[in-house]
Symmetry: C2
Subunit: 341 residues, 2 copies
């Protein structure tokens, strides 16, 4: 089985394999195999997002397994739903497959994706497959909003700025992979690499922060902390001061990247960045505890302009390019990668 | 403006242009520009479909304008929603763009798409953009079901088989384009080419056929009449007899393709193919009149096997490959193109 090509298995054979490998989830009245999937809505509001991953633009198969890629393709979309305070429900997966791809490779991709789909309550309900010159993955995720969604636009001057988890790890992991660093094989490096391959979308945290509108503006960190904070600032019409010293760094990061700027500018951590009034501090710590995720206060929103100042422990401004850097996943090529949602 | 490249305009510049060109539609609480789109549900049931169009697999830019491509990318997805009896509502558009693409080309694409989006009540609420080696278009469409959706699986022996409009035109149009036929410039050829470039999704017809469950099984013709009827037969557990003579052919088709088999096997007509009990005949003619679309009875479902027999006016079986042909949009390359939804 593992040696046959997709062209031998055929289009219907492949779809049948995909269909058999996928559990039919809650609310799916009709999934893969008809013109469109028929789905139950869980609330009066839907959340819809789409993210595409292209070979040699967003990922490199030299150092990325197909299982990791399946996991990550879904994770980045779940993260977008989480950043609105929503819960993911139904996904379509469209795949462009090179002619010499094997069915077992497609199955490995779905195996990785399924690990996260089960864990997060996502049903894969359709999509499309085609031949393509390089592997392409286009995911669309439909979620629902149990509470009023949290946009990027609700920050006000004097609101606190928070981030979940630690930042810079995913970019560090990618750097180690790209340079084929021996640190990959040590604990600190392996942790960073894992954060690059299998980011954890902060679903439960996003939901809890939306429940009483504790977070007033929220985004997930895909392009890098500074760049994503800049999106929040632009949408909210505020500026921000970030205390460089306060950024939460993992033990791996402190061991391998302490003097880098990856915590500020590295992309793909998929942590939540959000703003809230100072009156919410105690509530936010309770939410952090309940979600089982660290939350760190890293700065404050300011009036007057939408620019971001990064300051050191003495309050001295660090010189950093305004919008952060392109995320490293662009693999060094000049980038034109942008999510619209 | 028309001479600058995307890389000069930049990612945010491009998105801003796309956003400005798109009207914010009904039910869109938050569209392009946040983590996910926030949408109002119009019924307890959603319909979700995704279709991908890849350069040199599904289309050829030598004979396809970007405006037509924008139109068609949305049309094929609307057609899937229509084939369930649903109404389309919200779309995400993910684009992979070659490095030398110009912003005005992207705008031309959206201009074509917008013509159909406005006409069909679709709001474009998000997506993704990236560089890519060839143009790729990945659309996901969320619709709603005002009535119980019509699947492919409800046909029974002795049900009539119907098709809307005429068949074979889109495949004929593609043949003319591929051979650079001079007929393209005459009325008959131009009509077929238009049917290839700008298919008409049968939204209102699909909705009316679902309203009282008049159609019991329904599909849209993307792969070819025989192949799509085979999907209905397989899902319903019936066979079918098709009267070759009864197939509705346009004047163009009769002028240019009369002796071909394109009406049976040509893809991409995006007409509706459906099955209904004979008691519904009068009702179906009323629906045809109300929707302003011709509907033709072309055969009957039979018990015993899921195979399809095509017979001539004397009831003699015509010898035709079981599953129809690959659709012509694969551009002659060996094909692995299959929709999952």
């Amino acid at each position: 089985m593992n040696t046959i090509k997709l062209s031998e298995l055929g289009e219907f054979g492949l779809i049948e394999r995909i269909r058999r490998a996928l559990p039919v989830g809650r609310g799916v009245r009709l999934g893969i195999g008809d013109d469109a999937a028929w789905l139950e809505n869980h609330s009066p509001w839907s959340l819809l997002t789409a993210d595409m991953l292209l070979q040699d633009v967003h990922f490199n198969l030299e150092w990325t397994s197909l299982a990791d890629l399946g996991y990550k393709s879904l994770a980045v979309n779940i993260s977008d739903i989480a950043a609105m305070g929503g819960l993911p429900a139904y996904a379509t997966i469209s795949l462009g497959l090179p002619r010499d791809f094997r069915p077992d490779q497609v199955q490995e991709f779905y195996r990785g994706m399924n690990v996260l789909a089960r864990r997060s309550g996502v049903s894969i309900v359709g999509g499309d497959t085609s031949v393509a010159d390089a592997l392409l993955i286009s995911v669309c995720l439909l979620g629902y909003a149990p509470y009023r969604p949290v946009s990027r636009g609700g920050a006000k001057p004097e609101f606190d700025v928070y981030v979940s988890g630690t930042v810079g790890d995913a970019a560090l992991g990618l750097e180690l992979l790209k340079t084929n660093s021996s640190a990959i094989h040590r604990q600190a490096g392996a942790y960073a690499v894992k954060r690059h391959h299998r980011p954890t979308p902060r679903m439960e945290l996003g939901r809890l922060l939306a429940r009483r509108q504790t977070a007033r503006a929220m985004i997930d960190i895909s392009d890098g902390l500074l760049q994503d904070l800049a999106h929040v600032c632009a949408a909210s019409g505020v500026g921000a001061v970030v205390w460089e010293e306060a950024l939460p760094r993992s033990r791996s990061y402190r061991a391998l990247a302490q003097n880098s700027r990856l915590a500020l500018s590295g992309g793909e951590d998929y942590e939540l960045l959000f703003c809230a009034p100072s009156a919410a501090r105690a509530e936010i710590m309770r939410i952090a505890k309940r979600a089982g995720v660290a939350i760190t206060r890293i700065g404050v929103c300011v009036a007057g302009s939408v620019s971001i100042q990064v300051v050191d422990r003495n309050g001295k401004e660090l010189m950093i390019g305004a919008g952060g850097h392109d995320h490293f996943a662009s693999n060094g090529r000049r980038k034109l990668v942008r999510r619209i949602t």
